[in-house]
Symmetry: C2
Subunit: 413 residues, 2 copies
C-alpha cells in the first residue's frame, strides 16, 4: 500500500463519523491514550452524575434516596442498558460486584445445572482471575470437578460428554485474539455443556450478540471500554431460560424474593434478581451509568469499523516505520479475528513501553514480552496512531528505550 | 427525674464536645435524621474527595492512577484505618465488596479451619442476609453443615463440641440489643469453635475491640455509622494468627501472591490480601475514606457517651411525653446493653413512621411493628431528640398517623 503520513491520518479523522465523541471525554492534552482496554477514559458526564448522586441525592434525600432516586433499581436498570450493548433482553443482565465475584456466582450456578458432569473447560491463556475463580470454586466444593485447560484452538475438540461448562474470554487480554462465540457455543451445546463468556475486552468495543449466539452465561467489566471508572462494578448475564433453575451460592438479601420483609429463611427472587447479593454500590453504579449512556449513543457498526481501521493503521505504520526493530505481531493478522487492540512482542518490551509512557503514549506491557495497544473507538483518533508509532520509532532509532530507568520494574503495570 | 424541656436539650448541645462535627456534614435543613444506622449522612469532605478522584486522578492519570495515586493500596490502607476504630492491628482489615460477600468469604474460610465440626451457630434474629449467606454456603458445599439458630440469650448454652463457627451481629439491627463480644468469644473458644462478628451496627458508633476480645473474624458495613455513602464497600477482619491458614474461596486475581505476573495457577498472597478478589472499587472506596477519616478525628469514649445520652434522652422524653399512646420499648432498658439506637414497638408502627417522615423526622420501620431511631453521635443533636419526640406526640394526639396515605406500603422502607 501507499506510504502513510500524518496528513492522511488527519484526513481520516476529518471524515470520522464518531469524531464528535472525543470531546465528551476529559482527556489530558499531553497524552495519547491507548490503554482504554485496561482503564477507560473519563466521560465528562460522569463527574456531573456522581456529583449529583452524592451532593443532591445522598446529601439531601439520605435514606429516602433508595426510592426517591430509584437507587434500588440501578443493578437492573443499568443491566438492561448493558443488555442493549450485548444482545441481551431486559431482565437478563445485572450490574454489581466485580467480574471475579460474578464469575463465581455464575460458575457455581452453572455446575449445578449439570450435576452429573465433572469437567470445567477453558483455555490456558484465559485471563488468570477467571482460572483462579474456577480453582477456588472447585476447591471449596470438594474437588468434585476438574479444571481442564487447553490451547485456544483446541477448545472445540476438547468439549465432550464430561464437560459441564466451557468458559472463555471472548477477546484474549494479551493477544486480542477473538473467539467465534456462535461456533463455540453451538459446539458446547451439541455436547450438552453450558457456555459462559467473559466479555471484559468486548463490551463496548466489538459487537456481541449474547442471545444471537445462544449463550447461557456471561460476565463483563465496567471499567474498560464501558468507561465506568477505576474498579467500576461488573455485570453478569444469564439467558432467561435458565433463571428459574439458578441456585444462588452468594445468596444475600438483595437476591431474596422480599428483601425488606426480613424473613429468617432465604427464598430466591423470581427472576435474575436472585443473583444479587449485597446492597448496590450506588456511587460506582452512577459513574458507570454515565459511561454506558454515552456508549449507547454510538452506532455499534461504526464502532467496530473504526476499531478495525485503527488496528489496521497501527499495523501498517509499524510495517512501514518500525520494520527491522525486532517487533513481531502477537495478535491475529486477520483483523476479523482481532478485538479492539493490537499487540507486538519484543524481547525488550518492558523498557520500550516505559519509554513510550514517558513520552505520553500510554499502552501497557504484559509479561513476558507483550506491548499492548488498545483502541477505544469513541476517543482514539487516527492521528493518535500516527504519533504513537512515530514515538516508538524515535525510541528505537535513538536507543532511548535502553536507559536504566526504563528497566526498573514497578509492582503494578 | 425532672421534666425535660427544649431549653434543657439545647443546653446539652451547647456543652457537647462533639458538637463541632455536625457542620462537617451536609445535612438538609428541614430534616431530623435518626436513620444514620441505615444510611449515614454525607460528610462534606466526601464530595471533594470523590470529585478529586474522578476529575484529577482518573481523568488526568488514567491507568497510571493505580500507582501514582496508590489506588491499589486502598483496600488495605482504608482497612488499617477501620482497624484503628475496631481494635485491629495494621494488616488485619481489608475493605471491599459487600458485607454479604465478605461474610461468605470468611465463613467459607472459617469452616475449613474446623473441618471435623458440622454446626454453624447463630441467633434467629440475626440480620437476615447473614443467615441467607450461611444457607447458600451450606447448600453449595453439599449440606455437610447445619445452620443452628437459637434465641440470642441461649447462644452460649448452645455452643458445643460440634460447633465449628459462631456468628452474631454485635448490635441487633431491629432492637439495638448488644452482645458481650468478649464473653461470647471466650465461650466459643472454650468449646474449640471460631467466632465471627458482624459489626454493621457497631463500627463508628459503639466501642469495639476485636483483638481485645480475641475475635477470630469480623465483617462490617461502610454505609451506616462510617458514613461511606449508599452501598459503600464493606470490610472484613481476620486475626493475624489465622492469615496463613486461610483458603480463599473467592480466589480472584487481587488475592494472588503476584497479581500482575498473570500466572495461570492461583497462589495466595502471604497475608490477609489473599482475601481480596476483584479490582478495588476506587471511587466508592474514596467516598468511604472521607467518612472514616472524619470518624477517626472523634474520641471514641466521647462518641459512646453521647450515643448513650441521646438514647437515654429519647427514652425519658417518650416516658414523659408519649406515655399512654401504646409504645413499648423494644430495646434493652439497660443502656449499657444497647447500641446506638432505640426502638419501640407499636401496633400501628408503620403508619406512625410514615407520618413522622412526612414531618421530616426520619427514622425507619422494621416489620412487624418496630419503630427504629438511630443516633449517629457525630451529627445528631440533643435538640433533635426533643423535636422528634415532640412531632411523635403531635402525631399521636391529633390522630394524624391514621391518614390513609400513611398506611400505603412502599416496596423499600
Amino acid at each position: 500500500m501507499t506510504r502513510i503520513d500524518l496528513d492522511y491520518c488527519e484526513a481520516l479523522d476529518a471524515g470520522d463519523p464518531l469524531a464528535g465523541f472525543r470531546e465528551r471525554f476529559a482527556l489530558p492534552g499531553d497524552v495519547i491514550y491507548l490503554d482504554g482496554n485496561s482503564l477507560g477514559a473519563l466521560p465528562k458526564a460522569a463527574l456531573d452524575r456522581v456529583t449529583g448522586v452524592i451532593g443532591k441525592e445522598w446529601g439531601e434525600s439520605l435514606i429516602r434516596g433508595w426510592t426517591a432516586h430509584h437507587w434500588i433499581d440501578l443493578p437492573r436498570r443499568l443491566g438492561d442498558k448493558i443488555g442493549r450493548l450485548t444482545g441481551a433482553e431486559p431482565g437478563e443482565v445485572l450490574v454489581g460486584d466485580s467480574t471475579s465475584v460474578n464469575l463465581f456466582k455464575l460458575m457455581a450456578a452453572a455446575l449445578r445445572l449439570r450435576p452429573e458432569r465433572r469437567v470445567i473447560l477453558s483455555e490456558r491463556s484465559n485471563f488468570p482471575t477467571d482460572l483462579y475463580i474456577a480453582e477456588g470454586l472447585i476447591d471449596l466444593t470438594g474437588n468434585r470437578h476438574e479444571l481442564r485447560l487447553v490451547d485456544g484452538a483446541e477448545i472445540t475438540d476438547a468439549i465432550d460428554a464430561e464437560t459441564a461448562l466451557v468458559f472463555l474470554t471472548h477477546v484474549n487480554y494479551r493477544t486480542g485474539a477473538m473467539h467465534d462465540m456462535g461456533e463455540i457455543t453451538a459446539q458446547a451445546h451439541q455436547a450438552g455443556a453450558l457456555m459462559l463468556w467473559d466479555l471484559a475486552h468486548s463490551a463496548g468495543a466489538v459487537p456481541v450478540d449474547l442471545n444471537g449466539c445462544d449463550a447461557d452465561f456471561a460476565v463483563g467489566c465496567g471499567y474498560k471500554y464501558l468507561n465506568g471508572g477505576p474498579g467500576a462494578p461488573a455485570f453478569l448475564f444469564a439467558a432467561s431460560r435458565h433463571h428459574a433453575g439458578l441456585r444462588p451460592a452468594l445468596s444475600g438479601w438483595m437476591g431474596h424474593a422480599a428483601p425488606f420483609a426480613f424473613e429468617p429463611g432465604y427464598r430466591p427472587a423470581s427472576g435474575l434478581e436472585r443473583m444479587l447479593t449485597g446492597t448496590p454500590a450506588v456511587i460506582s453504579l452512577a459513574a458507570l451509568e454515565a459511561g454506558v449512556d454515552l456508549m449507547l449513543e454510538a452506532d455499534s457498526a461504526l464502532l467496530r469499523a473504526k476499531s478495525k481501521a485503527l488496528g489496521r493503521l497501527f499495523a501498517e505504520l509499524m510495517a512501514q516505520r518500525c520494520a527491522g526493530h525486532g517487533f513481531r505481531l502477537a495478535s491475529p493478522s486477520d483483523e476479523a479475528a482481532r478485538g479492539s487492540q493490537i499487540c507486538f512482542s519484543h524481547e525488550h518490551g518492558y523498557p520500550i513501553m516505559q519509554a513510550l509512557i514517558t513520552r505520553g503514549v500510554i499502552g501497557d506491557f504484559r509479561a513476558p514480552d507483550i506491548l499492548r495497544f488498545g483502541f477505544a473507538p469513541l476517543y482514539v483518533r487516527h492521528a493518535d496512531i500516527w504519533h504513537a508509532v512515530d514515538h516508538l520509532r524515535a525510541i528505537m532509532e535513538s536507543g532511548e528505550w535502553d536507559r536504566p530507568e526504563f528497566h526498573k520494574r514497578a509492582s503494578v503495570t
